[in-house]
């Protein structure tokens, strides 16, 4: 939480590894987890004489991201960013500098707040360095090993405006952005594999002020959890300094996951001179209008529209409370289409949302593969009382694991549910067998409802739906009370 009387001003830079088959400038595979230095060639190893050639699909995905964020797609130029580091094969990074491909967009978060997007640009990733030594940390390492499989993997860096005001909003922004990136097919969204990496620019100011404070850049925010922890710590640290009358020093800080604190790396006084200049080995990029339009026309539905579609199932402009949380779960997991399909087939949207956000979400990978027709059929069986809730969950587990027709599964498992008529006759049998308890129940002794439900469950070996039993008992009692 931001300390009272203070406001955080946060801008985020999100690096997204693009889901292409090959790297940005060569035909090596873009694949996580391969043995070291097996996906490298003269180009991505920076061997003398090699030259880059731009991957069309990477450009297309960058355009998709830009269009999804409401950016303009502009003619762009690649530059070289020059600095020495062993994970960079050419000792310069090919990136976009003052003429990026996407400019000026915005992302609206589920709570309705809006975060401006300054730019999104294409660049190449670096290799991976492992520090080997007693402590395993950078300082005191005995030596380092470098693997260039990741070198040249396409990245889009998305730079937000400093519109974010809290760690929680930052989390919501990254989560929503991740949803957009996954929806467009640009990213697999796996933060734990480094597919998304976040740096934050953080400053604080007195609430109500419109002056910008001195900012620090916080690096290494590689999960939503560390993002929130790092930002909360950094905001508190800066507020603490200012309240103690000390200045915030402009610097780059690293989030130490173990200790939950940010630590200074270097101050901006030693700011690096990257000597950007136009990459002479590449030509300008100016996607022609037809290409841009084709990309725009084939954009998949984005999380905001899909969230809206879910709300509309409930006749609401926006979902609130637990339903909103369920909606976020199915959106994040890409299961919202199942909810919509069920609702359109007449299933109660609340039931469809609950089953999908709970049981289906628990096996999200399988749920994404499930035959929607079978899934909807199962929910209908539950809604119509042909399966109890418990039975429906059992059938669902089986359906997700092995597929098949839900009716067949239910039959095979002996879970043939009772329809309303069959249930009524069982209830009638139980009432007839226990006349005294029935009279007391009719006289208002409500706790006997449990007794009768238990009896029904025993006779049906637990396959009756508890809610339906209660309803049947109520109907029967009302009918008797109304009889002369």
């Amino acid at each position: 939480m931001t300390p009272a009387g203070w406001e955080a001003v946060i801008g985020l830079e999100v690096h997204c590894e693009l889901r292409t088959r090959t790297k940005l400038f060569c035909g090596c595979r873009n694949e996580f987890g391969a043995p070291p230095n097996t996906h490298v060639c003269p180009v991505c190893l920076g061997l003398p004489g090699s030259l880059p050639v731009l991957n069309r699909q990477a450009v297309e995905l960058a355009m998709r991201i830009g269009l999804a964020l409401g950016c303009r797609i502009e003619p762009s130029v690649f530059h070289r960013k020059n600095y020495f580091y062993p994970d960079m094969p050419k000792d310069y990074q090919i990136s976009q500098y003052d003429e990026p491909i996407c400019v000026e967009g915005a992302l609206t978060l589920p709570d309705g707040s809006r975060v401006g997007i300054v730019r999104a640009h294409l660049e190449e990733d670096t290799g991976k360095t492992s520090h080997i030594g007693e402590s395993g940390r950078i300082h005191g390492a005995g030596y380092a090993l470098v693997d260039y499989n990741r070198a040249g993997v396409p990245l889009v860096e998305i730079v937000s405006a400093p519109d974010i005001r809290s760690a929680q909003q930052a989390r919501a922004y990254v989560a929503e952005l991740r949803g957009v990136l996954v929806a467009t097919g640009a990213s697999d969204g796996r933060m734990e594999e480094g597919s998304l990496r976040v740096d934050a620019n953080v400053s604080v100011r007195r609430a109500g002020s419109d002056v910008l404070g001195t900012r620090c850049e916080v690096k290494n925010l590689n999960s939503l959890r560390s993002l929130v922890r790092a930002l909360e710590h950094e905001v508190a640290r800066q507020v603490g300094l200012l309240e103690a009358g000390q200045p915030v020093v402009q610097e780059t800080r690293h989030f130490d996951e173990d200790r939950g604190v940010t630590v200074a790396l270097r101050s901006k006084e030693e700011a690096f001179d990257y000597r950007y200049f136009p990459e002479p080995d590449l030509v300008a990029l100016a996607p022609e209008p037809a290409w841009r339009e084709a990309v725009a026309a084939s954009q998949p539905p984005l999380p905001a529209a899909r969230r809206q579609a879910l709300a509309e199932l409930f006749g609401a402009a926006r979902l609130e409370g637990p339903r909103a949380e369920q909606a976020e779960t199915v959106l994040e997991l890409g299961l919202d289409a199942l909810v919509r399909a069920a609702a359109e087939a007449g299933v109660d949207p609340a039931l469809a949302l609950a089953r999908t956000a709970n049981e289906a979400a628990a096996q999200a990978e399988a749920a994404r593969q499930v035959d929607p027709g079978a899934y909807v059929a199962l929910l209908r069986m539950e809604q119509e009382g042909r399966l109890s809730a418990t039975q429906a969950k059992t059938v669902l587990a089986e359906l997700l694991q092995h597929g098949g027709d839900p009716a067949d599964i239910a039959e095979r498992l002996g879970l043939v549910g009772l329809d309303r008529g069959a249930l009524a006759s069982v209830v009638a049998e139980v009432v007839a067998a226990h006349p005294e308890e029935w009279s007391r129940f009719c006289a208002g002794e409500e706790k006997l409802a449990g007794f009768f439900t238990g009896q029904v469950m025993r006779r049906t070996r637990g396959q009756a739906d508890g809610k339906l039993v209660a309803a049947e008992l109520a109907t029967r009692r009302a009918a008797e009370a109304g009889a002369p």
């Binding site: 003269p42 920076g46 003398p48 004489g49 020059n82 000597r275 200049f277 002479p280 030509v283």
Partner: protein
């Protein structure tokens, strides 16, 4: 015993079965052996590889298979072009033992055309120089006077062709590195249009200026080599999609009706030797006599070429040469940490001229100086491009000297970088514009040293260059064979 046969004569003789490629090769290797000790043209000789390539050609001949246009022709390759499995050093300590895992496109196309690669020629380190004296492996000497430089940076390629040891060679030209040594050694050198020949596998000096091209004894051979290596390459993003028209067909086209501008700034410049100037004027007369209209033109912006070049080329080089850091290949000098290792490796691996240019380029790109130096040089580049456009409204081709002077003594300019840079003053503007240019030998100065005259053309007008170059070649005063020259036992008619 005779001078080296021309490439076209060899190809014809191999094709007709008159001589085998393997015999040509052995003759060539002997010829190299006769002059190499005095001239130092090669960094690496590749007789085994060459024998395999020659035998492959002979097998094709025996099988009646279709032959490439350069079948059986020995070719020397400048050592900044990658050759798979063969050391490719750029004449630098930092790459002294590096063996690339791939062939440059130009080399691959040569071999596909049937050429036989006999070795890798010496150059100024990373092609930075105009005398081949900055090579880490010692200088190459001029066959016309071994106390003088062959020019540079393609000095090894120029000298070995001039000495008649190899009929053809590949060079590279960033600011004149094919044409200037061709002029100083009395051979033909052609710098193609930027993007006409793939740069894939050419170890970059200044990426927006570098081009691969031929050095040859005759214009015809230069055209044949260019035809073999030119054409679009998907591995080079700056490779032109349309490509150059075949040049050999233009050989006999003549110059009748062509408008040729004699460029005042490439003839009357300060520092030009009278002997050079006289030969350019002779060449103009020869072209006029052959039916061209020769008119003087003035392109004052060309004077800005040299200062702009010495900001742009070092800037690009400072970035291109960053990768030589001791991490992945090449020289490493150990250090306590990676930064120290890299700084020591680069200190030990690069020679003084390379260090000077890296420092200059780093400065030109650095914050605070970028706009005054690098960006301003790029704007000046635009002025030069526009000036050429205007000149080509009046003329089809331009004519001038290739260099202000003939070959100068070894050591004369080593400690005076600016004086050395001035020897490229006439060749640099073409590179900035991306245009093609051809240097053709045209007699000697009073000291008997070869003079080169330069023909310049708009983009992709190589065929016109070849046509005019052939006319100049036919009308040029005979160039005596150099004192250091190979003699061939092999009876291939010239």
């Amino acid at each position: 015993m005779s001078l080296a046969p021309t490439a076209s004569a060899i190809a014809a003789a191999v094709r007709s079965g008159e001589v085998r490629a393997s015999e040509v090769l052995e003759g060539c290797l002997e010829a190299i052996d006769q002059v190499e000790g005095q001239l130092g043209c090669f960094v690496t000789l590749t007789p085994e590889l060459a024998r395999a390539q020659a035998e492959a050609v002979d097998a094709q001949v025996a099988a009646g298979a279709p032959l490439g246009p350069l079948a059986g022709v020995p070719v020397a390759v400048k050592d900044n072009l990658c050759t798979a499995g063969v050391p490719t050093t750029c004449s630098s300590r930092i790459l002294a033992s590096w063996r690339p895992p791939y062939d440059a496109t130009a080399v691959a196309r040569l071999v596909a055309a049937g050429a036989v690669v006999v070795g890798k020629t010496n150059l100024d380190e990373f092609a930075m120089g105009s005398s081949t004296e900055t090579s880490a492996f010692g200088p190459t000497r001029n066959p016309y006077d071994p106390s003088r430089v062959p020019g540079g940076s393609s000095g090894g390629s120029a000298a070995v062709v001039a000495a008649g040891a190899v009929p053809l060679a590949l060079g590279t030209d960033t600011g004149g590195s094919i044409r200037q040594p061709a002029a100083l050694c009395g051979v033909v050198g052609l710098k193609p249009t930027y993007g006409a020949v793939s740069r894939y596998g050419l170890i970059a000096f200044a990426s927006s200026l570098d081009q691969v091209g031929p050095l040859a004894q005759t214009v015809e051979d230069a055209a044949a080599l260019l035809d073999a290596i030119a054409g679009h390459d998907p591995m080079d993003s700056t490779s032109l999609p349309e490509g150059v028209l075949p040049c050999h067909r233009a050989l006999d086209r003549g110059v009748a009706g062509l408008r040729i501008g004699l460029v005042r700034e490439l003839v009357e410049a300060e520092g030009i030797e009278p002997g050079v100037r006289r030969r350019v004027e002779d060449a103009a007369e020869a072209l006029a006599a052959a039916g061209a209209t020769v008119e003087p033109v003035s392109v004052p912006e060309l004077a800005l070429g040299l200062p702009a070049y010495y900001l742009i080329a070092p800037a690009e080089a400072s970035s291109n040469l960053a990768r030589y850091d001791g991490v992945r290949y090449g020289l490493r000098v150990d250090g306590a940490d990676v930064e120290e290792m890299q700084a020591r490796t680069r200190a030990a691996g690069f020679g003084p001229e390379v260090k000077r240019r890296i420092l200059l380029g780093t400065y030109a790109l650095s914050a605070g100086y970028y706009d005054a130096y690098y960006a301003q040089a790029q704007r000046v580049r635009t002025l030069i491009v526009r000036a050429f456009e205007r000149a080509y409204e009046q003329a089809d081709l331009l004519l001038g000297a290739t260099t202000p002077t003939t070959a100068f003594p070894l050591g004369a300019k080593v400690e005076d970088p600016l004086a050395m840079y001035l020897s490229d003053v006439f060749t640099i503007p073409t590179n900035l514009a991306g245009h093609p240019a051809l240097s053709v030998p045209f007699g000697t100065d009073d000291a008997g040293l070869p003079v080169g005259v330069q023909l310049l053309a708009p983009a992709l007008a190589e065929p016109s260059l070849v046509a005019a170059g052939a006319v100049l070649e036919r009308s040029a005063p005979a160039l005596p064979p150099p004192p250091v020259a190979a003699s061939w036992r092999l009876g291939v008619p010239r």
